[in-house]
């Protein structure tokens, strides 16, 4: 009863475990499960689109060595732009121009399209720099001797890129994807600031004006926040697992114990130091 009586701060942090373990807060139209699904959909769409743009661009830039200055400048510029400001600028300028208001069943409800487009644009803009810079850096870091050897064996430019540079750059590329995913998951929270949109941010912005309510106020906001953090950590671990599976063992140097090898010899051969493998 008196949990919220304290005039200053926001006690009620102790109510969060109870809030999170109440079934009613997980099910229902704006429950944690629905919000979590929306959050994941916003994230996956943004990261996929960003990867479709950034991967080929990064591979070409790394392979040819052209446009590096442009990419570094662009990545730094994006870091300085506040995502929330960019989002609201897009909502004020392009949302009124989008007339399509039908529901898209897997993405948004009726009326949501004009708002989900700016959200995805902002998330894609955030996700491109880490993937792009890591991809070109990974390709560029490949030991020139390895590249020469591939050419000497008769491989053409595209074959060198696919068969040699891409596998060696893969660990760095995937670490770029991981930081992109972390940023997008964190930022997708602000989608719910807009009408018709959800995600885990919904419970946060819904609770803000009624912060003292023990059901939808501070405990709900904090509970949703904890789920966002848990989602971020889970996604990161999942991608780390993917990285272990898809990266060639010749590059990552993860060999079964008992197999004799000299790490320095392998480093020389594949041109990747243990630090960035």
């Amino acid at each position: 009863m008196t949990a919220f009586a304290d005039g200053s701060g926001l006690p009620g942090i102790g109510l969060v475990p109870g809030w999170l373990t109440t079934a009613a807060h997980w099910w229902g139209p704006h429950g944690l499960l629905v919000s979590l699904r929306e959050h994941v959909v916003y994230t996956v769409v943004a990261v996929l689109v960003a990867a479709l743009i950034a991967l080929p661009a990064g591979l070409v830039i790394g392979h040819t060595g052209r446009g590096v200055v442009l990419v570094v400048g662009l990545a730094n510029a994006v870091r300085a732009v506040p995502a929330f400001g960019l989002l609201l600028l897009l909502v004020v300028t392009i949302t009124p121009k989008i007339k399509y208001t039908h529901a898209v069943s897997w993405l948004v409800s009726t009326g949501g399209v004009p708002y989900v487009v700016p959200v995805e644009i902002v998330l894609v803009i955030l996700a491109i720099p880490p993937i792009l810079t890591n991809t070109y850096a990974g390709v560029q870091n490949v030991d020139p001797a390895v590249r020469d050897a591939a050419t000497g064996m008769g491989m053409r430019g595209g074959q060198v890129l696919r068969g040699v540079e891409l596998p060696i750059a893969l660990p760095l590329i995937l670490s770029g994807v991981r930081s992109a995913v972390l940023q997008v998951i964190a930022t997708a929270t602000i989608a719910a600031y807009l009408p018709f949109l959800g995600g885990l941010g919904y419970l946060i912005f819904n609770g803000l004006p009624q912060i003292n309510d023990p059901n939808v106020g501070y405990p709900a906001m904090l509970g949703a926040g904890i789920v966002v953090a848990a989602l971020a950590v889970t996604a990161d671990l999942l991608l780390l697992g993917v990285q272990r599976v898809v990266v060639s063992r010749g590059v990552s140097q993860r060999f079964r114990t008992g197999v004799a090898y000299d790490p320095n010899e392998i480093t020389k051969r594949v041109g990747v130091s243990p630090a960035n493998a």
């Binding site: 304290d6 200053s8 701060g9 926001l10 006690p11 009620g12 942090i13 730094n76 870091r79 300085a80 732009v81 506040p82 995502a83 929330f84 400001g85 960019l86 609201l88 600028l89 909502v91 004020v92 300028t93 972390l182 998951i185 964190a186 930022t187 929270t189 602000i190 600031y193 941010g201 946060i204 912005f205 803000l208 912060i211 501070y218 906001m221 904090l222 926040g225 904890i226 966002v228 953090a229 971020a232 950590v233 990161d236």
Partner: protein
């Protein structure tokens, strides 16, 4: 551009107040964060066994979304949800998370031969740390500091989603009262970028002052 200037003049006192809060919120955490990460980073580089756990914990802290920290801290610190102190503390945590690794790597990057030479010249361990190892680590630490400072500025804006008054309030004002069109939002974006560039420039300048030998080598 004219509309931006006009809007700025009309609301000058309020916007300048927000600007002051933003500068303070973006600068103080970087300074405090650096002061906290220096000893931790030193420990991570000095005692090898402590490097993996310290860097892992720092990396985990960095995965916590900022809006979550802004919400958790009032509950822990007993501050109000709109108190800028939450933002300052949250950003300090991010700075420490980023800088511990940078400081440790920077200190470790100084070559053993250099350190041995300093010892041979009679430097005590403490003198060697402050007069040789730390100055030589400045370029690496400075690079990390630039990243921390610039991302801090844009993180301040996230706090405006909860209603903490600072330059990000221009975004919410522009969104809620449409009579000015996109002017307040544009003005906010411009000011945020200017603040980020100013911090970046200040750190670059500081780096130049602290590493005079780099220019000496370049001039030769």
């Amino acid at each position: 551009m004219n509309a931006l200037w006009q809007y700025f003049r009309d609301d000058q006192s309020e916007i300048l107040g927000w600007l002051r809060t933003t500068l303070w919120l973006a600068a103080a955490p970087v300074v405090v964060g650096l002061l906290i990460s220096l000893p931790i980073g030193w420990a991570a580089s000095r005692f090898r066994w402590s490097y993996p756990p310290l860097v892992t914990i720092a990396g985990l802290l960095y995965t916590i979304p900022s809006i979550v920290l802004f919400l958790v801290l009032p509950g822990i610190l007993g501050t109000g949800i709109l108190d800028p102190v939450n933002v300052a503390v949250a950003l300090t945590i991010y700075c420490v998370a980023l800088l511990v690794r940078v400081v440790a790597d920077g200190l470790s990057s100084v070559s053993d031969a250099t350190l041995a030479a300093a010892s041979a010249m009679g430097y005590t361990n403490r003198q060697r740390l402050f007069a040789v190892q730390l100055p030589l680590a400045v370029p690496v630490i400075g690079a990390g500091l630039r990243v921390a400072a610039v991302s801090n500025v844009s993180l301040v804006a996230v706090a405006s989603t909860l209603g903490v008054a600072q330059l990000g309030s221009l975004f919410t004002t522009g969104y809620n009262a449409t009579k000015h069109g996109s002017t307040p939002i544009l003005l906010g974006l411009v000011l945020f970028i200017v603040v980020a560039l100013a911090f970046d420039g200040a750190i670059l300048l500081g780096l130049r002052v602290l590493t005079p030998w780099r220019r000496a080598v370049a001039a030769r």
